[in-house]
């Protein structure tokens, strides 16, 4: 079945890029570069999302994350004009090694857990089924029916966040 194999190839590439650039993002000393690596990772992720029959989410991923949030990051980085962080003079060896170990341990644990976990139950038909040729209307319908409250709360949250951000970053005029 060629289509499937094709998907496998795409998956391989996407996940490889995602992981590789994620690592880059961490090891990178220059903030701008880490941001860029993260952008690449996000692209990989959105490809994976497409493979998972979620093109809408994939587009959203790029549009919101890569296109807005990370640009905001870049903007701030430039605004503060952050050069690459100096090789820290008072490096905390304990923090570094321990942190690395813990991170790896937790990653391993989680991976094992997710793999050993039993398959999730069959989805509820009320939450219309995927993969489907066009899931966007279904998403919209759900958003304004089952998840209406969450949606409203979210809108409120965004408003508050906007106001808060404005207030925080505003220079105090005296």
């Amino acid at each position: 079945m060629p289509a499937f194999s094709g998907q496998l190839v795409v998956f391989g590439f996407a996940s490889f890029f995602a992981l590789a650039f994620a690592v880059l993002m961490v090891v990178q000393r220059t903030p701008v570069r880490s941001v860029l690596s993260l952008v690449v990772t996000f692209f990989g992720l959105s490809v994976l999302a497409v493979l998972l029959a979620a093109p809408f989410i994939a587009a959203l991923q790029i549009f919101v994350y890569a296109g807005a949030i990370l640009v905001l990051f870049l903007f701030v980085i430039m605004l503060l004009n952050l050069k690459e962080e100096a090789a820290d003079e008072d490096d905390r060896p304990v923090q570094r090694t321990l942190g690395l170990l813990v991170a790896l341990a937790l990653g391993g644990l989680l991976a094992g857990a997710t793999l050993r976990a039993p398959a999730p139950p069959r989805g509820m038909p009320s939450l219309s089924s995927i993969p489907s040729p066009d899931e966007i209307p279904a998403l919209g319908r759900l958003l304004f029916s089952d998840y209406l409250l969450a949606f409203e709360a979210l809108s409120l949250l965004l408003l508050v966040a906007a106001v808060g951000a404005l207030l925080l970053s505003k220079r105090k005029f005296e």
């Binding site: 499937f4 194999s5 996940s15 995602a18 992981l19 993002m25 961490v26 903030p31 880490s34 993260l38 996000f42 992720l45 994976l48 493979l51 998972l52 029959a53 979620a54 989410i57 959203l60 991923q61 919101v64 994350y65 949030i69 905001l72 990051f73 701030v76 980085i77 503060l80 952050l82 962080e85 820290d88 008072d90 690395l100 990653g107 391993g108 991976a111 997710t114 398959a119 999730p120 139950p121 069959r122 989805g123 509820m124 038909p125 219309s128 995927i130 993969p131 899931e135 279904a138 998403l139 759900l142 958003l143 949250l157 508050v160 966040a161 906007a162 808060g164 951000a165 925080l168 970053s169």
Partner: protein, 111 residues
């Protein structure tokens, strides 16, 4: 595990692979959050962790064959946007007073 649930179209790529990628990304992000000293880099790592979780959600949604997971991801993304706005604003304000965003140099919360 195989995503062959009754009534759900089988997946070309075994879902386990997606899960592993997600968890690995999560771990990487975690490492970044623990190791980086630049507040913004830490923030980036956290965003990465979120996305890793999103990937897991999408995978599970695909396995279950309904949209709940995608819905959650949708919300996560929106929340992340809000978080980014506020967080970055905080950093900007912080930078104004402290002239740095190195979390080790902003160790005020101590005895």
């Amino acid at each position: 595990m195989t995503g062959a649930l009754p009534g759900v179209a089988p997946m070309a790529v075994p879902p386990g692979a997606f899960l592993v990628v997600g968890t690995l990304l999560f771990a990487i992000g975690l490492a970044g959050a623990l190791l980086k000293r630049n507040a913004i880099s830490i923030f980036l790592s956290i965003e990465l962790m979120m996305n890793a979780v999103n990937l897991l959600f999408l995978t599970y949604a695909r396995m279950r064959g309904d949209l709940a997971g995608q819905m959650i991801v949708f919300f996560v993304i929106a929340v992340a946007a809000a978080e980014a706005a506020v967080g970055l604003a905080i950093f900007v304000a912080l930078f104004r007073v402290r002239r740095t965003v190195d979390v080790d140099k902003i160790a005020l919360l101590k005895w």
